[in-house]
Amino acid sequence: MEADIAIHANAPAIETDSLVSLPASRVALWIFLAGEIMIFGGLVACFMLYRIAAGGWTDEASHVDWQVGTINTVVLLTSSLTMILALAAVRRNDQQAVKRFLAVTVALGIAFLGVKAFEYHGHIVEGFTPSKGMFWSFYYTMTGLHALHVTGGIVVNSILLIMAIKGTLWARGETRLEIAGLYWHFVDVVWILLFPLLYLSLEAK
């Protein structure tokens, strides 16, 4: 009873924990990514379950081109590098480099979508539409959802690039680039996992 009173009636002023000093935007973005992981994770889980149930889909899967997929992976990995270099550049206040790296990142993102569109076109010409079978349903759903995220990233990065050119980026440039970068790297990581799932695990030996 006495101990209770000591704690509750006369509690000393203590500092709030270290969590309040974390940057809110970074916390929020990671929470957002947690939600995104559940969306992509759910989709990937469904894909794996169906693939096991169907016994591999090796026939259908042999129609995707692993070489094109590999090229696209390199494109996206490189865009992640240029994005992080843009952040490094804003930290040393090298505005020219920021613009350069952002422009390359946007260009690589568009290149990724271009290659993706080329792939889609090829598949559809061959008759492999989303309703052609379960593998194709998943292929288009997964890569399509990913491509939407890439598009979103390109839009964000383009806005940052325009702001950089106009000179309005710099006031909170580091935070903005950091947040956009976190998202862009996440999209990259998703592709890193989608690539082997859709392109590589197919050859029945």
């Binding site: 270290s18 794996m48 149930a53 082997p196 695990s201």
Partner: protein, 95 residues
């Protein structure tokens, strides 16, 4: 931050990228090597996981973050794995 340090950071990011490309090559080539399908698949997905971790830790700076970020980022994959395992008998092995 002085110029030398930032040069080092840029170099470090570049090294990570090199590793990512090397791993990509390893993960792709292994499929066409004369190893069993099971081993190939294991390596392919292990390589993908390592690549993912490399990006998350170094490009997304998770290694410098407060522990709570590990919680935020770690719980969802755990839940996905639980869900996947619980659904195996129903969806994957239904026949």
């Amino acid at each position: 931050m002085n110029t030398e340090a930032t040069q080092d950071t840029a170099k470090f990011y570049f090294q990570i990228w090199e590793w990512l490309i090397i791993l990509l090559v390893v993960g792709t080539v292994i499929v066409f090597m004369p190893v069993s399908r099971g081993l190939a698949l294991t390596i392919v997905f292990a390589v993908a996981a390592i690549k993912g971790v490399l990006v998350v830790r170094n490009y997304m700076h998770l290694k410098h973050e407060h522990l709570i970020f590990y919680l935020i980022a770690g719980l969802p994959p755990l839940l996905v794995i639980i869900m996947l395992l619980a659904l195996l008998p129903d969806i994957a092995f239904r026949h």
